[in-house]
């Protein structure tokens, strides 16, 4: 799987809806009709910060992801990219 570029800007796909839940969040893509579960509130913060952050790395930083865990969040964002939940900002 190709790794998500942490130094690019990313947005949620316009057809994706985010619903916060006590355990994290649910993401639903109206185009693909796929559901994803974020099992972590920090990941939710990252996803919510993407639109206003210049890069994914900056979004992780603003959500308080420690350097040591960056790879884990990069992988999670990569999975969201694979399922078209995230699109690279051009």
């Amino acid at each position: 799987m190709e790794a998500l570029d942490l130094d690019a800007g990313w947005d949620l796909h316009p057809q994706v809806s985010v619903r916060p839940e006590p355990f994290g969040a649910l993401l639903y893509h109206f185009g693909t009709r796929k559901l994803s579960f974020l099992k972590d509130r920090t990941l939710l913060s990252v996803v919510q910060s993407l639109a206003s952050a210049p890069t994914a790395r900056a979004a992780c930083a603003s959500a308080g992801v420690p350097e040591a865990e960056l790879q884990k969040y990069q992988r999670a964002l990569g999975t969201l990219m694979q399922s078209s939940m995230l699109v690279e900002r051009r």
């Binding site: 809806s17 355990f23 649910l26 109206f30 009709r33 579960f37 920090t42 990941l43 969201l80």
Partner: protein
């Protein structure tokens, strides 16, 4: 490693694809979901009890429209609420939902308000023109019901002509360019041998096959003994699912088959009242579509606080979100994936909810059922029955014929009066129940109440 993201989808693909080791207990979605969600992930909404068919296994005993049905405005208010709660999509069913004259108005209203729609239909209204119109809506998915890969098998269960109607509807969808709609099959003993043929039909129309489980709910209780897959067929089904893999949908309905070996993918959880529920045509909220019974009635959307209040605070749903005891199943090695199977299947066959599923593949269900039958205990019947007053024809001999069923009068109340052993008993035999009910074709016509033009009956 703890995963922080998961994408199983409720409509889980069948097994066969990659299997990953189960994460440690406590971090799995199923463990998080057992305590419920702020709003359902998806929700079944039956818009009407009216139906042009009389399928012998109808889970909601549909046929006649209920006069208390939610009005267009009430239905729109429910949609507004679902939008506020961020319920991403609803599975609309019935009855036959498309016979509501405001059906397309409601579908358009929902999708315009960010509530996606998947609706189930027997295809009766899917003309080429309607199919064209539906194909233009990106937020819409359609599920055509077909319970036999041949007219012979299908029409035995769904009624004469229903095979042709469904095939015509699929042709129209295909011609309109509606890609990847669903062909939905309830698995029964007569059709388990046709799984390959179902797949071929789905492929022919560019549809995705969806297989679900027969439940002894509604009229399904009358035909359960005859139609539910035999033990060797359960195995055949499981093997077929394993072999055919990722593009066959199952609605997560076969998790009781996990006890054959590998767990099937999906939540492996009874979602009733935790992640799913049912809104019925009169606004009653039940724990799941297969549980239309007072025992599983949580409230009504017309009451104060609406649907949200029922979902978040009803006594029933709060109770269903408590940790469940495995009861007699707790010591079984497969309990972790099978979870004791389907609550509704147990309830309507008279089995205790904390015991084995009637189709437990380890055979524990049959043993329990035998005990119940020996004890001659009455199995629970739903208080809700909108069956057409004239039954189509006899299937198994177990379906009682041409009986007037008064609303609120359960079939069990009628059956003793007709059974041979009591028929001679002057006290038990109450002919008024049988003959006094008007059998009125017009009243029985599900469309009879839906004629806005002309002077009659329109909403």
């Amino acid at each position: 490693m703890m995963t922080i993201l998961d994408t199983p989808a409720l409509e889980a693909p069948a097994p066969g694809a990659v299997r990953t080791p189960a994460p440690a207990k406590g971090t799995r979605l199923v463990d998080l979901f057992e305590y419920g969600l702020d709003a359902p992930i998806c929700l079944t909404w039956e818009l009407t009890y009216a139906c042009n068919l009389s399928c012998v296994h109808c889970l909601s005993s549909s046929g006649r429209r209920d006069p208390r049905e939610l009005t267009t405005d009430e239905a729109k208010a429910v949609i507004d609420e679902l939008e506020r709660m961020q319920v991403f999509y609803v599975n609309i069913g019935g009855g036959e939902p498309t016979v509501r004259p405001d059906f397309f108005e409601l579908v358009d209203y929902a999708t315009a308000h960010h509530v996606g729609v998947k609706f189930s239909t027997n295809g009766v209204k899917l003309t080429p023109e309607v199919a064209e119109r539906l194909a233009r809506n990106d937020y819409l998915d359609i599920q055509i019901s077909l319970d036999g890969a041949t007219a012979e098998v299908n029409d035995y269960v769904r009624g004469p002509g229903s095979y042709d109607t469904a095939i015509r509807a699929m042709e129209n969808l295909k011609n309109a360019g509606f890609a990847n709609f669903k062909l939905s099959v309830v698995c029964t003993s007569p059709n388990i041998g046709q799984l390959d043929e179902f797949k071929a039909i789905a492929d022919r129309y560019g549809a995705q096959l969806r297989l679900t489980r027969l439940r002894p709910s509604g009229r399904g209780a009358d035909v359960w003994d005859e139609l539910h897959p035999r033990p060797e067929q359960q195995r055949e089904l499981y093997d077929w699912l394993v072999a055919h893999g990722s593009d066959v949908l199952t609605g997560d309905s076969f998790f009781h088959l996990s006890a054959f070996g590998d767990a099937l993918p999906g939540l492996n959880l009874c979602g009733a009242g935790r992640v799913v529920c049912l809104i019925d045509p009169v606004g009653d909220v039940y724990a799941c579509p297969f549980a239309i019974h007072e025992e599983f009635l949580a409230g009504n959307v017309r009451s104060e606080g609406g649907f949200q209040e029922v979902w978040q605070h009803s006594e029933l749903f709060t109770r269903l979100r408590q940790p469940q005891s495995g009861g007699a199943c707790a010591s079984c090695q497969f309990f972790d994936t099978c979870k004791g199977g389907c609550m509704a299947a147990k309830f309507f066959t008279g089995l205790p909810l904390d015991g084995p599923d009637p189709e437990c593949v380890q055979g524990f269900g049959e043993t329990a059922l035998t005990k119940i039958k020996e004890g001659k205990t009455e199995t629970p019947r739903s208080h809700v029955d909108h069956s057409h007053r004239t039954e189509r024809y006899s299937k198994s001999g177990k379906v009682t014929l041409t009986l007037g069923r008064r609303p609120g009068l359960a079939a069990k109340d009628l059956k003793p009066a007709l059974s041979t052993e009591i028929a001679g008993d002057a006290v038990a035999f109450r002919p008024d129940l049988v003959t006094a009910m008007p059998v009125n074709d017009r009243q029985d016509d599900p469309l009879a109440d839906f004629r806005p033009e002309g002077g009659r009956g329109g909403q």
